[in-house]
Symmetry: C2
Subunit: 341 residues, 2 copies
């Protein structure tokens, strides 16, 4: 089943069921007006939404409308929780190397998760707004899951069963603010502006064999300014699968339905810590920080700058037949319009 949220209809938008080909959709006000409402009452809503999905795919939905990714907000325009893991330890090791920090051995056994801001996500086609270019604006292409309710201390098995939906994420980061913020000891805050999620959130069964061991075994396609920048496989080198990330997050408190847990930047080791860029025949990267580290090792200094106003990012995942599963995140870095107040 594929779900999306149209921007119209208020802060939480309007839930629609979308057909597999992403061409038609249907509003479902009699089932749930918003995605959060559906998640709040999932056992009741899910079968009804699935019925609409079947009808849409069979061309039998009576109130179907054309579906347009441009009209979408993030599936949850705002959420009660966005916690982002760092499950691809290769990324963590490489980025830490770039800022001269060592990787503690425990990072291979104890998941790293930070609490992100979830009050004001931007839509998949909205700008990456920034007050200036000076922050070192970077993308981070990731996978994320939306959970059902989980009790405190939930086992990995319980967590696996509570994964309701999957999405793609662009977890924008301000690289130059990170060292100072992490040195303060309380984690990221200003260095993590609003994230954007893919137009579609899809149920795990929709992914067939590509969803196994609580990992999504498909390449994550990243374009920068319309050129291929990365296509690492999200199922490779994921040290902690989603069930372990969720169990970590639920260790000392309950997780409420609609919590979003991210994988962290997808990163394939490709035979060495540093991987290889697309230009050098590798699968490339899901953030600029990794390429810059690769360049530093290759030639003594990074050659690629961070994102500037006007730069564009596209994040997508295709199925085995080349069809877009989640629709595309497509964002352009844009100066934030300063308010008159």
């Amino acid at each position: 089943m594929k779900l999306a949220t149209l921007k119209s209809g208020g802060r939480d938008g309007t839930l629609v069921v979308v057909n597999r080909e992403l061409s038609r959709c249907q509003m479902v006000p009699a089932i749930a007006r918003t995605l959060q409402a559906a998640l709040d009452d999932w056992p009741h809503c899910q079968p009804q939404l699935a019925e609409v999905y079947t009808a849409l795919n069979n061309g039998a939905a009576r109130h179907a409308l054309p579906f347009n990714e441009e009209q979408c907000h993030s599936p949850l325009p705002r959420a009660y929780q966005w916690a982002d893991g760092s499950a691809y330890i290769n990324h963590v090791e490489l980025v830490r190397k770039a800022r001269g920090a060592e990787l503690p051995a425990s990072f291979w056994s104890d998941p790293l998760i930070y609490q992100g801001g979830s009050d004001s996500f931007v839509g998949p086609r909205d700008p990456i707004y920034a007050l200036s270019e000076d922050g070192g604006i970077d993308l981070e292409a990731e996978i994320a899951v939306i959970t059902g309710d989980l009790p405190m201390g939930a086992s990995a098995l319980q967590c696996a069963g509570a994964i309701r939906l999957l999405m793609l994420v662009n977890d924008v980061s301000l690289r130059h603010l990170i060292p100072g913020e992490l040195a303060k000891g309380f984690g990221f805050f200003q260095s993590k502006p609003a994230s954007a999620f893919s137009p579609l959130a899809v149920t795990p069964d929709e992914l067939g064999d590509a969803w196994r061991d609580c990992k999504l075994h498909l390449p994550l396609q990243v374009q920068l300014n319309r050129s291929l920048f990365g296509r690492p496989n999200a199922g490779i080198d994921m040290t902690f699968d989603f069930s372990r990330l969720l169990a970590h997050a639920a260790r000392s408190r309950e997780l409420e339905a609609g919590s979003i847990i991210g994988s962290g930047t997808v990163s394939n080791k490709q035979g060495s810590l540093h991987g290889s860029s697309i230009a050098h025949g590798g699968v490339g990267y899901c953030c600029l920080a990794e390429l810059r580290m690769y360049e530093t090792i290759d030639s003594g200094a990074p050659r690629t700058g961070f994102l500037k106003f006007g730069d564009s990012v596209r994040i997508e995942m295709l199925d085995a037949d080349g069809h877009s599963i989640f629709g595309a995140i497509e964002q352009t870095v844009t100066p934030y319009p300063t308010s008159p107040a």
Copy 2:
């Protein structure tokens, strides 16, 4: 104006307006069913809610019911953002000393804020649930504000104008997990279980002269096992007022209506870094960690343990006439009921 949320009515409860004496309340489904709904449309809802408040105080509300703090959830049972500052630098300095960490000079000029979990707050009379006593369970009594919408880069002045409501908080912390988690670099996660907020959220105008310079100038009363443990004045030694905390939080992203920003543990310096306990004639503390540090300095080792199952915490604030402003947070540490799954 005073607002509360009854537990009945679903995950977000039911908004009620409460009279000044906390004796009567009225549901307001025609204005807003939940507090978040009121905050989403505050300019429209606020005057209507204020009218009900006036009627309640005048005994003229036609559908008033008895108000019972026991029936309350936290004013926002779940929120889109809970970000907690550390505005009382004395607390930061003392707690860091307790774990052997130095206080960087920048902490006096650059606010420290962490992103907290906001998906599953507990009610003001709910247990402090823990899987075991081993985490070093501590209370942290604080003040928090709920904001309206704020643009990215909002000035402190804009932020001051966006403070909609104030509450008290118990930001429960698992002290023994903090050093390990902070060492990982991503901030708190498992070390911060669910917070509880006071039954009442009140508008700033309700506080009269006690609300000035974006600080709340009244003693915050903390009882442990029914004995006075602290009564520091929340207006004293608050290095960063709420407008500065909000401006820090809004620096690189918008804040959406309903965001909760906390002050951090209230702490008065009382003439020296270590302050003084109630037993020694001081104003005491708002967390056990500070008392333990005081004891360590006083006699070489902490004498007071962290919270155990059965221990109770009460947090309240009285106005100049001795009336409870926010109602009381009253929680007992309780083993989390393990689920059958």
